[in-house]
Symmetry: C2
Subunit: 593 residues, 2 copies
């Protein structure tokens, strides 16, 4: 196996600085307020009793600790003493209420202590996985080890119960997450038992006689036999991420092959153009190949985040631009669509089309306005931790080979040949495609990902990267032509036949009723008409104005095909920025003439 690792950077300016600041200044606090109101933080005190308000829920701990993980990254980016104080209090509550044997889950400790580890679908190991991730992040950011110590006590108990005693009512968790967290913990501390426990959960999954085998929980097959992305899409993404990490740690080619198969299945058959995955709202799951509906797709924000994690883990298995392409698609579109531009409201699902008239029907329809909190509020804190750690996706390094996977005005410090090296990146991306690198340090080969969207790039590439030799003090620039592209989906994607998505650089565009009037599905964009690309206040990516046509209104229900069209100027906004003004119809896949 190779030795590719992610390199962290400081983001200095530009698109991801906008989101990094929005997170620090708004999202973090908004999620905090909503979680406080709903009693999620108080639940950590484990003193809820029947008859009190705000009864805890089996997954509340995961909401809270994902937020803590996010705060840890925020602190690492720059001090945030008020948040740190609050988190320390939360950690005190966890430490104080952790059971002597190490068990912690605020719901089971306060509501149903007799039910501990009796049902694999009750999210205990899922919550612990997030607790592990939070503990690592908080230790890394602050040096404080209280939460990490709690977690070590907890994982010791899990090791005893699941491996030594086999005394739980189940073998593997219904909702994956602990596997990747244990591998992170192993990578952080190097303790074999964490690796062993992760390996156990991955290897036993779909591979034991005791547990029912279900597509929904990805345990229909043993991990190494998986061919298709199936079932609940967040669970799937977390499992596949863990499989990559274990494949790397164990140099397990069979497991890596399974990861390749499932990654290809997702990106070739099951991913919306926004990077959203999990099209089937029933079961929040992957649908069959090429089933990518628009208005009734599910595309949970957490599933998009899980896909980024999976692609990020693949990127550490193999240097290939396809992973950065997927990460870019999902980061710029299907993840950040999950939060409003003021950082106050969230989408759980991320539809590609909204027709509010259809709400009169009884069929599933997406919500058209983001909300401040959900009952099952996994997505908002997942946004918090993702936006606070976008920096991890920029570079990977393998000895003296440095791969630039994402573009961001940033500064990276890493070691080459045992010595400090500094790589500065300056870009206006995604306004334009010019990216400049300034390097100081021992000689490196810089591989710059040439995005799949950049079909106009005509330089040489290796595995999708442009290759530059850089020595101390040298600079290099790439300039990615950034044209407007009309994208078609595979003919098997029946819902998009005859329709096209507008994409410029990494940004997928949409039209809203609020700009373009009703009956969005009837709009035809004119491929050869006037196109204006405009920088506008409040949206950190360009807005596009295009000549377009639509039919005249008619009294008749049916009439002869008629080319009598009205001209107008369509306003296309980045998909991620939809639903930021008022409830509105919206469309991504449009007609083009």
């Amino acid at each position: 196996m190779n030795n590719i690792k992610s390199v962290d950077v400081k983001i200095k300016d530009g698109f991801w600085k906008f989101y990094s600041d929005l997170n620090r200044n708004n999202i973090v606090g908004n999620v905090y307020e909503r979680f406080k109101e709903t009693g999620r933080f108080d639940a950590l005190k484990c003193n809820w009793r029947e008859g009190m308000l705000n009864k805890p829920h089996i997954y509340w701990d995961s909401d809270v600790v994902k937020w803590i993980e996010g705060i840890a990254y925020v602190i690492r980016n720059a001090p945030a003493p008020e948040w740190e104080k609050l988190v320390d209090e939360m950690i005190d509550n966890i430490a104080e209420n952790q059971r002597a044997d190490g068990y912690f889950n605020s719901y089971f400790l306060s509501v149903e202590p007799s039910k501990i580890f009796t049902n694999r679908d009750w999210h205990e190991l899922y919550c612990l996985g997030h607790l592990i991730e939070a503990a690592i992040a908080y230790h890394e950011a602050t040096g404080k080890d209280k939460l990490l110590n709690c977690v070590l006590k907890n994982t010791d108990m899990v090791y005893r119960i699941f491996i030594e005693e086999q005394s739980a009512n189940f073998i593997t968790p219904g909702h994956e997450e602990i596997e990747l967290a244990l591998l992170k913990l192993y990578n952080y501390l190097g303790e074999e038992k964490h690796l062993e426990l992760a390996r156990f959960f991955i290897n036993q999954r779909g591979n034991n006689e005791k547990e029912e085998k279900t597509v929904q929980r990805q345990d229909n097959l043993p991990a190494r036999e998986i061919t298709d992305a199936v079932g609940h899409s967040v669970r799937a993404g977390y499992l596949y991420t863990a499989m990559c990490m274990l494949a790397k740690t164990d140099s397990d080619q069979e497991l890596q092959d399974a990861c390749n198969r499932v990654f290809n299945d997702i990106v070739n058959h099951k991913m919306s153009i926004t990077g959203g995955v999990g099209a089937d709202h029933s079961g929040e799951k992957f649908s069959y190949k090429y089933d990518l509906p628009n208005s009734d797709t599910y595309n949970e924000t957490c599933a998009a985040i899980a896909l980024a994690l999976f692609a990020g883990a693949m990127q550490e298995l193999k240097a290939d631009s396809c992973y950065g392409d997927v990460i870019e698609r999902v980061l710029y579109n299907g993840i950040i669509s999950g939060v409003s531009l003021d950082g106050e409201k969230f989408f759980y699902t991320n539809p590609l089309e909204i027709d509010r008239k259809k709400y009169a029907r009884s069929t599933y329809q997406p919500i058209c306005e983001r909300v401040k909190v959900f009952n099952c509020s996994c997505c908002p804190p997942n946004i918090v931790r993702t936006l606070a750690s976008i920096s991890r996706y920029v570079y990977t390094i393998d000895e003296d080979k440095v791969y630039c996977n994402q573009y961001a005005t940033s500064k990276a410090i890493f070691k080459v040949g045992g010595k400090d090296a500094v790589l500065k990146q300056v870009t206006n991306y995604p306004y334009d495609g010019k990216i400049t690198f300034e390097y100081s340090g021992e000689p490196i080969t810089l591989y710059v990902r040439i995005p799949e969207w950049c079909v106009e790039y005509n330089g040489e590439t290796e595995n999708g990267f442009a290759k530059f030799e850089l020595s101390d003090g040298e600079s290099v620039a790439v300039d990615l032509p950034m044209e407007i592209h009309f994208i078609e989906a595979n003919p098997y994607v029946q819902d998009n036949s005859g329709r096209y998505a507008v994409q410029r650089g990494p940004i997928v565009y949409c039209m809203e009723e609020i700009d373009n009037g009703e009956n969005l599905r009837d709009i035809r964009l004119l491929e050869n008409g006037t196109i204006n690309i405009v920088k506008e206040e409040g949206i950190p990516a360009p807005v596009i104005y295009m000549d377009a046509q639509r039919r005249k209104n008619s009294e008749k229900l049916y009439s002869l095909k008629n080319r009598s069209l009205i001209n107008f100027t369509a306003r296309l906004i980045p998909y991620f920025s939809f639903a930021n003004r008022a409830a509105s119809d919206m469309i991504v896949w449009t007609m083009v003439e």
Copy 2:
């Protein structure tokens, strides 16, 4: 009010002879066998007791008596002694088991006698309505009055209970039907109390303090205040038909205005191009204006039949070709799609698109193969009685004005100025649009409907009819140019934006996977390509072959808009003939270039 009346004809040849023969020779017997197997006929003996097979259902009587009504029309068209013998036995069972006070419903008499008239949603008056229609038809066809006498006893009891005693638990029926049946009975026998009872049910509907007012049952508003077609679409169609009939009988302009409003609402906003209505599968109901989905539309066969009845009743209120247009649309498309070309199998719902891959999803999807019988098997016997009485739609007459509303090689005998007149019609419709009339009798004005589809007709029209003066021995012919038309739906019909239906004459076309391969939504028909109109064995209307294109298959999920297309010849078959070979995807609304 005018004095327009339907005139019955003998159908001699052509399209409707095909369906008339299919009905007599196949459908009638197939429905009989299925109803026999399921115990529906035996239920009339009212001797079912707990523990026996084939427990009757509250609506079984309606299934059986709609079939009897159909047999009556079959007998009127030509003797059918075996069927007549069987029907006589059924009538004996009804007469024998009718309660002394006149009540008859095999379910309530044998299963729940204590529940009689306790719940308006239990279909007792609905079943009685169909019994009335059967009794009239059977009396008219055979002169036998046993069933008619049962019905008169039954309606006397209903009059006493609902008007005199008001002793039922409800005032108006949940499922309309009895209203139109009572008006038919009044028109047949002239007894005031039947008119009074019909008037009572129509006037009390949505207009009394006792009953909950619901959109689903069309009782959200009193009849004269109705503006929109709402609720369960079969119930709605039967109510609106009765409203027309009462408006005519009572010269009730207010009621006629309500009928006009609701008719316009249906044909301008809520009717599939096949004439199917009731788009919302949840509640089998009319959806909101312009909500005309394709794969998940409901379009129950009975609702299409009810629309034909409604338009037929409107046609007797006012001479306007628009009613014949709707009847034609629904007869040639959305009604006969409900039965297979061998008369053996039926559709309950009539989708405009089938994508069998979507069956993997949990959302509502239409069945793609007709079946022999349904648990709720209202549609097959409704097909039987409709196909056996198509002849009633051909002409209406108002003194010496004769309106030809539908085309069929046929012979009509009627009175003009008190003397017998004979009008023969010869046509090859819908293969071509030439229709010849031969007349003998006192002078008449013949009004021939110029169909709305025939935009190429350039003669003069009056209310949509071409007008001819005809004296004894004269002939006249119209020749309706029958071009292939590409039809677009109103821009508000969002599901069809950018798509077109192919129509030639009255026939709406579709494409099946079995002819055209998979991914039907990706097909583009070439408007200016070669088009062949072919008469083929087994389908009583032409098949169309057209130059078409589709995209090449691609490995990629997303790619740049690409005009690389494959040419092929598409086979379009009449919509009514889909699903006659094997389970197959199907599409009506297609792309056209």
